[in-house]
């Protein structure tokens, strides 16, 4: 299964992370830091697979893909095929691209909940849910339609709207 999905920028700041098996906060940070340390030491044009047993316990490896200023990292175990994971990163990135039209780092920062929604449509509890980016888009759009519809109708609690704006 997929253990975690992370997006880290090239300076080492985590931009998005989701762990599918529970890890304490410190451990999550530790993993991200160490993965970043490995990633930034790797030149272009080497392979995208790294064994991560020293970082996150036995039987784990991760696949990464580098887009502009961001590293997309999937951490998973031996029950997944490496190349399909790589493809999944591609699907995830394509979906984001469709969703935000020319996605950039700032889009991710400001549309945090939307990122979660998209990812929830692709990966579910550590398993691949949907691999068709247009299908994902359909679901996401539906959700956002609902969102705007109901938020127009109702008075949202102050603190809640505060969260949403992030």
């Amino acid at each position: 299964m997929i253990r975690a999905v992370m997006v880290i920028n090239t300076t080492g700041k985590p931009r998005f992370s989701k762990f599918y098996d529970f890890q304490p906060v410190e451990k999550q940070q530790e993993i991200m830091r160490r993965i970043y340390a490995v990633l930034c030491s790797r030149p272009e044009s080497v392979c995208n697979f790294i064994e991560a047993e020293s970082i996150s316990g036995p039987d784990t490896r991760f696949v990464y893909k580098h887009y502009a200023t961001l590293y997309f990292v999937f951490l998973f175990d031996s029950s997944e095929n490496e190349l399909t994971m790589l493809d999944l990163i591609q699907v995830f990135a394509e979906t984001l691209e469709k969703c935000f039209k020319n996605v950039c780092e700032l889009d991710l920062v400001f549309n945090y909940s939307k990122m979660h929604t998209i990812l929830d449509e692709i990966i579910f509890g550590g398993q691949v849910l949907e691999t068709n980016s247009s299908e994902v888009m359909k679901a996401v759009e539906e959700i956002s339609k609902l969102e705007t519809a109901s938020s127009a109708l109702s008075l949202v609690h102050k603190s809640v709207s505060g969260w949403r704006s992030r």
């Binding site: 080497v46 697979f49 490496e82 929604t117 509890g125 849910l129 691999t131 959700i143 949202v156 969260w163």
Partner: protein
Amino acid sequence: MLYIYMLGYDVDFGHMEAVSLISAPKYPEKQVGYIVTSCLLNENHDFLRLAINAVRNDIIGRNETFQCLALTLVGNIGGRDFAESLALDVQKLLISSSCRPLVRKKAALCLLRLFRKNPDVVNVDGWSDRMAQLLDERDLGVLTSSMSLLVALVSNDHDSYWSCLPKCVKILERLARNQDVPQEYTYYGIPSPWLQVKTMRALQYFPTIEDPNTRRSLFEVLQRILMGTDVVKNVNKNNASHAVLFEALALVMHLDAEKEMMSQCVALLGKFIAVREPNIRYLGLENMSRMLMVTDVLDIIKRHQAQIITSLKDPDISIRRRALDLLYGMCDVSNAKDIVEELLQYLSTADFAMREELALKAAILAEKFAPDLSWYVDVILQLIDKAGDFVSDDIWFRVVQFVTNNEDLQPYAAVKAREYLDKPAIHETVVKVSAYILGEYSHLLARRPGCSPKEIFSIIHEKLPTVSTSTIAILLSTYAKILMHTQPPDLELQNQIWAIFSKYEGCIDVEIQQRAVEYFALSRKGAALSDILAEMPKFPERQSALIKKAEDTEADAAEQSAIKLRAQQQTSNALVVTDQRPANGTPPVTQLSLVKMPSMSNVDHNPAEQGVSQANGTLSVVDPQPSRPSDDNIGDLLVPLAIEGPPGSATLSGHSPVFGFGGAPNAEDALAIAPVEEQINTVQPIGNIAERFHALCLKDSGVLYEDPYIQIGIKAEWRVHQGRLVLFLGNKNTAPLVSVQALILPPSHLKMELSLVPETIPPRAQVQCPLEVVNLRPSRDVAVLDFSYKFGTNVVNVKLRLPAILNKFFQPITVSAEEFFPQWRSLSGPPLKLQEVVRGVRSMSLVEMANLFNSFRLMVCPGLDPNTNNLIASTTFYSESTRAMLCLVRIETDPADRTQLRMTVASGDPTLTFELKEFIKEQLISIPTASRAPSPVSLQAQPAEPPQPLPTSSPAALSDPGAMLAGLL
């Protein structure tokens, strides 16, 4: 808030608000509530209980988006509480036809997650039909999810899901052959690679495919995939197609296809490891290592050796590692030389992260497949020279052991070591090895130019200022040994070395100080030095700890099994390697004191040491170097021997009884059997095995072993040097015992023949197995019955000592005074007559002792000795080599101190005398009566048990002139 959390701050506020938002009626509120909850809370969080009800309402509700949200939460958290309360509802959602695919696929995965987390809560019995139905689904999204679920279910229990197998093959056919897929599901022209991969994964969980039709069509599809894939320009398309391809390869391997297809696969892989795309190269190498587990392809893989070696120089460390693994796995006798040399060459350029692993692997390969031993020594020395810091101690310990055990190798190794020392800058480990080898064997080179003791000394001494303390200690020993080997003594050299010793007498490091002082004192004693510093004895055969270590470090499952496979195929031709050294606190003095050094008062007796002197029966001289690995090995080896001495606790301590190699002229034989592995038995024996054994030493029939399933009884008849034992194997159960195996491991002095043991013992039946014993020579060694059987899934294996021991070949005989005294006098002094003062004897009255002797068939003859505190016993011993042999025993006890006595044993055969003396001593010191439980304490603690533990061992008595004189009565 989530953002704060992700940045690594502990968010401990707002949880309650988030949970309460879940039950809000409006979508955005709900959504925020769900997202926050699923990210922040883990499955054991208390607040989650509060949310369960709200979540459940959403799941059984009508609103599909709410359902989705709820399912997502459940899937992402998946705690036990959720599983208990929601699994049924989720199952219903999955099979209901009214929901949209979106919901159903989520339900499938949600169920999967719940099942993974709590397999005991989620009930999946009877799901096979439903799974089969689900696999008929047209919507690929749902199909993908269902396939994931199937993978989990099948991996858990493949038997119930046979019906799904043909369906999986159909799906594959539909995807790969007919390309019958909606447009949006093709990914760069490949029909849903994820589903293909998942399907093939699922197929791998089924052991084999029996139905020929299904099998044929599957192979057709696989063939198409294998042939149809080509490297193309587009990276993404490439990835997708190769993902499918590699999975197909894995499936082919799993199915163990025909050879033709296999070689096709290997050819493909060979192509991959040569392509430019690093990802594919990586996977090619990895899959090739996996391929190694499949038989018959090794030869084909070897053709790609050159290419793999090139990969070793790849810029990418992931690829280099894979290449290394693969090389390691594919190495065998034919290509070992090339590969190891390649590794050595690579070692000097490899980056630091890899060197240790590399060094270790090279060492193991060199050891396992060495065509000749001098090559092995060459390789290891080179390795140590090149890798230096990255060579673990194990590696050099091992080479030392190797050299010690092979005499032919010793001069060669010494020459090599000498050559290395000539180099201007060498690593400290090389200094250690060279110094050690030269110390032991430099005298073998003495005639060569530049190898006189003096020159060797000076060249080693040059290194002294640069090395660390642990190495100095080794160097000091080397000096002492050089000194010892210099014949005739060279005064100048002697003075030089003495100067060094006295310099280090004040060293701050205790180890060095102690060595310096001792060697100094010893070297003044002259002749004694050569005994103490004699060459190391050989090490016993054992599995290389290096290999064990490698197994530990390998976590890759595939790789691991490859190693194991290898390990089984090639039994290591090599010798021992130390296990982790225990803190070695025993000062060298202890060991010395046993051997001809009565002047040095001694501190505590090392039990292992006792064992060696006792068992060898001759003066065994042990090299007094506590910090060297080799000593530990002797210790290790002797631990089992030491138990052998007092047999009271032998079986309990986990080691199976082991034969001492006393008296046996071919100690090697005994050694080969000695390291019997420890057994872990799940079935607990009834009663104490050791006690039962001791009881049987005294009588001829009884129960040898009993556990809940089986009882082994024994009945014996003894006539002169022959015996006939009958083993009664009784099955106590209503089910048959299967795979019954009984193997006798006879010591060298017994000839034993066990009749055929049936493989199955029917319920409640008893089987008799006669066992013929012939005694060839006197010896105390014990035969072992290696007995195993299977009951249900339990495999029970026990090693039982057979009560065919020395005293069974005795015939009690009464001798009169007229017969006794001439005999007693005619056997004068060692080795025919031996005397020993035994301390730590169990306190017992003279009558008790006489009874004990009688029960061992040593007939006590009252009235022969004028002193009433003494006992005289006699018996006749029978063996093939000695025929009938009269044995006489005299025990002199001290009425004031019951714990010590003096024992004199005489017979016409030196071995018999010694064996009998040791035998009686064992009986007197340990407590052989069944009433008292043998101490299950650790070996180290054992000598502390009697008031004064085994203090005088036989060699000490032997070598003590006073004792010898006293022996002449």
